[in-house]
Amino acid sequence: MNRTTAIRAIISATSAEPVVFTTEAACRVARSISDRRNHLYLTAGGELASSLGIGVAMQVRRPTIVVDSYASLARNPMGLITAGTLPRLSLVHVVLDDGLFGAGDADAPTGRADVCALARAAGYDSVMSTARPDRFMTLVRDHVSRTSRPVLIRCLLSAPDEPVAAAAAAVRTGDLPAHARRFTESIGDLGAIA
C-alpha cells in the first residue's frame, strides 16, 4: 500500500467528520483527491496534528480523524500520550507509517519505533495495524462510524507514491486564514459543538 491508496481510503470512509492532515505529502495527496471543507491541512507543525485533532474532538464530541505520519508522531508523541488519558475521546488516529523520519528518504535514526506499542502504553482503547488496503479501509470505516474512544490504526506503507503536482495541491501561506475559517464553518454545520 502507498500513501495515496491509504488517503483515498480515508476520504472514502469519511464524509462530514473533521479530518486533520499532517504536513507535506499527506496534505498534498488529500487535497488532490478531494478538497473538502472539513479537511484541515497543516503546512507546518505537523507534529501537532494529533494535538489539534484532540482539541477538535474534545469539543465536537463525535469522531474526529487525525491523519498522522510516523515522522510527525516520532517528533512529538505527546499528543498520543494526551489522547490516551481521555477514554471518552472520539478520536480515530491514523498513522501512515513509512518508517521514515522526515521528508525525502531520510531513515529514522533509531529505526522504526513501534507506534502501536506506544499507543497501547498511552492508554488507547484499541490499536490496530495493517498493510492491506482492504483491511485498512474496513478499519477506518468501522471506527469512523462508531468509535467513542481513542483508537489508533497504523497503516504500513511500503510502495512508492504516485507523483502529485505540489504547486497545484499545496495550500498557499496567504490562504491559511481562509482555510482555517472554512474548517470552522464545516464544524459549525455539524451542529455538535459542546
Partner: protein, 196 residues
C-alpha cells in the same frame, strides 16, 4: 483604524527593551498572586467574555489564574506547552476562544506551534502568559518575553492592575474573537521568590 490602535490603545505601554534595559530601568510588573480580589475579577472577566475552554501546562500552576479557573470552569492540563497550544488551536477551530495558561519560560518550546500554526492560520486564541520578576532567571525571561511575542507577531497586552480589568479583557476579546488575531495577555504572577 490600524489593529494596534483599535485593540491595544493604551496597552502598548513600553517600547521593546533593548540590551541596556536593566540599566535604564525595568518596568516591573506588580505581582498579582496575593491580590485575590483582582485575580478573581480577572478570571470572572475572562469567563464573562466567553473565553474558554482553558488549558494549562504544569508550569502554569504558579499562574494566579490557575486556582480560580480550576475551581470554576475547569482547566485541562497538558504536559507540554506546544501541545497545549495545539489542543487549544483545535478548540479554537471549532468556534471557541480558548485560553492557554503558561509561564513565560514555556514560550521557548512553543515557538514552532505559534509560528507555524497559530499565527499563519490566524487561530483565535489567548495565551495568558505569567511573568515573574524576582528570581534572576525570571528577570532574564521577563526581558525577552515581550520582544519574543512582538517578533512572533502576536498582539500583546500587558495586564495593568491599576486599569479596568474588564476593559483589558474586552480588548483581548476584541482581538481574538472579532479580529482573529492570536493574542498574549502578560500577567505578573509570581509571589516574591517564586519561579514563574
Amino acid at each position: 483604524m490600524r489593529f494596534a490602535d483599535r485593540v491595544s490603545e493604551g496597552n502598548r505601554v513600553q517600547p521593546t527593551p533593548g540590551p541596556d534595559f536593566k540599566r535604564t530601568g525595568e518596568r516591573k510588573m506588580t505581582p498579582l498572586a496575593q491580590k485575590a480580589d483582582l485575580v478573581d475579577e480577572l478570571s470572572r472577566a475572562l469567563v464573562s467574555a466567553e473565553f474558554g475552554p482553558f488549558y494549562a501546562t504544569p508550569g502554569a500552576v504558579v499562574s494566579p489564574l490557575y486556582a480560580p479557573l480550576s475551581a470554576g470552569p475547569g482547566v485541562f492540563t497538558v504536559a507540554r506547552e506546544d501541545n497545549a497550544i495545539g489542543i487549544a488551536a483545535g478548540a479554537a477551530l471549532t468556534g471557541h476562544s480558548p485560553v492557554v495558561l503558561m509561564p513565560n519560560h514555556g514560550l521557548g518550546p512553543s515557538l514552532g506551534a505559534i509560528a507555524s500554526l497559530i499565527v499563519p492560520y490566524r487561530v483565535p486564541i489567548l495565551l495568558a502568559v505569567s511573568v515573574g520578576a524576582d528570581a534572576e532567571e525570571a528577570r532574564l525571561l521577563s526581558r525577552i518575553t515581550r520582544p519574543m511575542l512582538d517578533g512572533l507577531g502576536l498582539e500583546t497586552i500587558e495586564f495593568d492592575p491599576a486599569r479596568s480589568v474588564v476593559e483589558q479583557v474586552n480588548r483581548a476579546r476584541d482581538a481574538v474573537r472579532d479580529l482573529r488575531v492570536p493574542t498574549a495577555l502578560l500577567i505578573p504572577s509570581a509571589a516574591p521568590g517564586r519561579r514563574a
